[in-house]
Amino acid sequence: MKVPLKWLGEYVDINLPAQELARRLTMAGTEVDAILTTGREWEKISVAQVVGVSPHPNADRLRLATVELGGEQMTVVCGAPNVAPGQKVAFARLGAELIDGHSGQPTILKAAKIRGVESAGMVCSEKELGLSDSHEGILVLPEDAPVGMPLGQYLGDTILDLDVTPNRPDCLSVLGIAREVAALSGGSVREPPGDYQELGQPIKERVRVEIADRDLCPRYCAALIEGVQIGPSPPWMQERLVAAGVRPISNVVDITNYVMLEVGQPLHSFDFSLISDRKIIVRRARPGEVMVTLDGTDRPLNHDMLVIADAKEAVAVAGLMGGAASEVSENATAILLESANFNPASIRRTSTALKLRTDASARFEKGLNPELAMVAIRRAVRLMLELAGGRAAEGIIDVYPGKRRETRITVTQERLRRVLGLQLPTPQVRQTLVSLGFGCRWVPPDRYVVRVPYWRTDVHIPDDVAEELARIIGYGELPTTTLSGAIPPAQPQPSRELRERVRDILAAAGMQEVITYSLTNLESLAKVLPPEELSQRPPLRVTNPMSYQQEYLRTTLRASLLETLASNLRHAQRRIALFEVGRVYLPRPEELPHEVESLAGVGTGDQPDRWRQPRGEPVDLYDAKAYLELLFNRLGLAVSYHDSEDFALVPGRTAEVRLDGQRVGLVGQVHPRVAASFDIEQDVYLFEVNLETLVPQVGKPRLYQSLSRFPAVEEDIAIVVDEGVTAAQVQAIVEAFSLVQRAALFDVYTGPPVPAGKKSLAYAISYQSLDHTLTDAEVDRERRRILERLSREVGAVLRG
């Protein structure tokens, strides 16, 4: 909402500088986005008159306009369709700063040849002047604009650009802002006059109005003015409309727009001669009914939409836009003026369905009070008689099925204190509310009865009144205290704690955390998941995605992680290790998806040497495993690794991670075919862990093992086994012996003299007892039993 201060000053004395006014409005809830000063940037732009228009010699769509600047004439190239001799226009000389009509960026006007003709300036559009977004034609100034006057002087004003919150439709009007300013600066409001003489016939004899669907139209007021003269509205009105960002059209239309901006009530004017049977019916649209609106668009209507109809057909979409058929043209002499109130939800639904948002719908959908309709129509009729002549019919038709009781709220002192943390003195409460137009009666011993003014449709409960008081007095004036109540008992958060520990462990291990988007696309998912998984459990789809790239909720972290890796490889050919801890979303029928906390990591590139250069040793499975081993070790979880397969990983280089026999994760080499689909041409390793499955297992305290006071006996044993025997098998056998305190694998060897198909595993074994010093005989016996069992179970032979 743009509020020109010149206009605002008509309803309230402005005794504050614009900056301070803006600050107070902002603090009180109506944020001032910008203070625009029209005129200041308009150096080298002045009022000019078009004295001649001739065709451009080389271009059909361009013309040459000659303008008079007060003793000086200039000819420029003009592309606007609406330029015509006699017009007063805004003319920019070379060097003027304008807004570029296409890019919207500020630009300096330079001399240019346009299709071979030198153009020494420009006739400006509203957009080029920064007045509005309209770039369809040039800005035509009122006829009495003095030629040669700098535009800033002629149009200049200070305009507050307000960000009005949806609960305050009353602030979508200059009068509403005046009420705020009055309360915030101790002034009083001058209501605009709405009285006039009724010289015509009684309106009841001329027009009939019927509301067929009363739930959607609580009130419909209509006035009739006959004998009007359609023409331009007066300059002062045009200037105000332009300053507020509305394009002047004709006196009748301008008045309806002006009153809407002034008091906040949308109005509509019909050419009465085009209303069939002099009858207005407010009804739901009929199935299949179509209407052409003022903007020339065919609007297919349905039964949920409310229309204003005459005896024959719909003449307006209620609260949104009038129909082209009953538009007030320059030949109109009788104007039927509508000021009505419509159901906000219905207006919003219709607006959404028709994809049509107007200044009117933006106000109706926020909920206006029906009382406003009568105030506005009187004001508009008065302006019509003043500015377009004619006679007003006697009386105003007022069909008012939805009359509401005035809102009265009982507010106790105690509630105000409880909400605001402050006991306000009674006179201050009363004076603050009265300054906003509320009524306030103190009912001893402890309460107020507050009467809400009709324009405040947002105040219903005592806490709303508390906000009114707080925002006018200033939030800064409320006390500042700390919470004094008991701190609620702590609840365990195992899932979050685990997730944060995992992040810390992996970052400490040298991995970089990334956070990728939760939405992805099927194409990416199909690169890393088997087709049957995607078809059996299709991911959730967003029905209105911003782009096809972000259409599906991810069911794995793999794809986005590999994409992140690929994009970084484009500018960093070095060792990269990334991890993400985030959710994947597994659909469940008729339910919210299962959001599973997951971990995934990827690594690629060479190990760095002393000088951080690639050492020529690319990462492999055991680097990837190292992260998992560190992670599970730090979490105190004993996991095992088993040969496995996965759609996206290389067979034989893929291991499943199990905890208590249950699968909790996966580690392996990304299949070169999959890597290539992400444009990665080097070895990549990946791991995944389902953190949710770990939650019940972590956090158990680790049990202490006593330290032996007796010496350990250390010895190395090398055995030869078939290559198919895993290290984990041998390890498990050796560790099962009670005297083996520790067994560490320190060498794996294949090649001569070890026979083909066999490998040698070397272990450093530490024998120790908790209760005595081991004798050589005991150690010998234990070793023999170990070797016997290894021989029996995995065919191991002691290497000589």
Binding site: M27, E467, L478, T482, R503, A507, E513, S567, E595
Partner: protein
């Protein structure tokens, strides 16, 4: 008359001193020791010959010889210490390194800047007695909108452009990607009775074109405190303390009226711009203030929606954007950098 032995002791001493001055390494020093203090040294011969001297001479010569022996031994140990010191100094000198050379590379991992900022935000509230609760990112319309007083066809829905899940029930889309963390107010209060003091972090989503200050996925922290006797004053005090913990004790805050359907009165809080100290700069739009969170007293209807006694209990709620906090702390000007995950960006934090 001077005894000849005493004369000889004098000569021994002079010679020993002269020779010691020329000693420059441990080997020479050992030769010197053997020559002057060794078994066959002249001094030792004199000492051994003492027994054959007359008693008076023995007394005089013995005293002088023993004094000289102690003196030579003292000179020896001093010289030895000097030589060792010189050796160590020489070794150290040879071992000088260029201390500016880099250490051997260890991989350095880092947490994402959003994780870092989020942790600090949560820690500030946890230390004030708040607990962390988390909830679903895919939500029902009911929790995201209806239960927080944003019914269908309410114009306030424009404040949250929504991504809807392709799932139809009763001709409507009931499932969505939550647009804010406020549904957690309802979920938490459904699960527990007052006193409530929680913060709820998580991702939120908007159907929104991205630009340097808008991102369709972002991280929010919701806060909620409900109890008997909680007022706007507590809201102000708690959030003021939070702002100072996070942005420095010298920060000033400003509360202004704002509108969110689920709070009444509604507020937002700004801090004085940490980049220009409130003087006005590009980051703060020359106002000197930067809005960091929206807040307010929980609307009595929201309390009633979860079955709380809205007469007895009051509370406050707030919501803040984590990326915005991170941007302020690090002077980041484009929010899109966070989820582009360019290592050249991430490795700066």
């Amino acid at each position: 008359m001077i005894l000849p032995q005493l004369q000889e002791l004098k000569e021994i001493e002079d010679k020993a001193r002269t020779e010691l001055a020329a000693v420059s390494d441990e080997e020479a020093l050992e030769s010197w020791r053997i020559a002057h203090l060794g078994r066959r040294s002249r001094l030792n011969i004199i000492l051994r010959g003492l027994a054959s001297l007359p008693i008076e001479e023995r007394r005089q010569v013995g005293a002088a010889a023993n004094r000289l022996r102690l003196e030579l031994e003292e000179m020896l140990s001093q010289r030895q210490a000097q030589l060792r010191e010189a050796t160590v100094t020489a070794v150290v000198e040879r071992g000088r390194l260029d201390v500016t050379l880099p250490g051997r590379p260890l991989a350095i991992g880092r947490l994402h800047p959003v994780t870092q900022a989020l942790r600090d935000i949560l820690a500030a509230f946890v230390s004030m007695g708040f607990q962390v609760f988390e909830g679903p990112e895919v939500e029902w319309d009911h929790y995201n909108f209806e239960a927080v007083r944003i019914p269908k066809d309410h114009p306030a829905r424009d404040m949250w452009d929504t991504l809807w899940i392709d799932y139809v029930r009763n001709d409507e889309y009931p499932m969505l990607l939550r647009t804010h963390t406020s549904p957690m107010q309802i979920r938490v209060m459904e699960q527990m009775q007052p006193p409530v003091r929680i913060v709820s972090p998580g991702k939120c989503y908007r159907h929104e074109a991205t630009d340097p200050t808008h991102e369709w996925m972002h991280t929010q922290v919701e806060g909620l405190a409900v109890d008997e006797n909680i007022s706007m004053a507590d809201l102000k005090g708690t959030l003021y303390e939070f702002a100072r913990r996070l942005f420095g004790r010298e920060r000033r805050v400003r509360f202004r009226c704002d509108y969110f359907p689920f709070v009444e009165p509604g507020a937002d809080m700004s801090i004085d711009c940490p980049l220009c100290d409130g003087q006005g700069c590009r980051a703060c739009g020359n106002s000197g203030w930067i809005e960091i969170l929206g807040a307010g007293m929980v609307h009595p209807e929201v309390l009633a929606n979860v079955g709380y006694d809205a007469e007895r209990y009051t509370g406050f709620a707030f919501g803040l954007g984590v990326e915005r906090v991170a941007m302020l702390r690090h002077g980041i000007e484009d929010i899109r950098l966070f989820y582009a995950n360019d290592l050249r960006f991430l490795e700066q934090f």
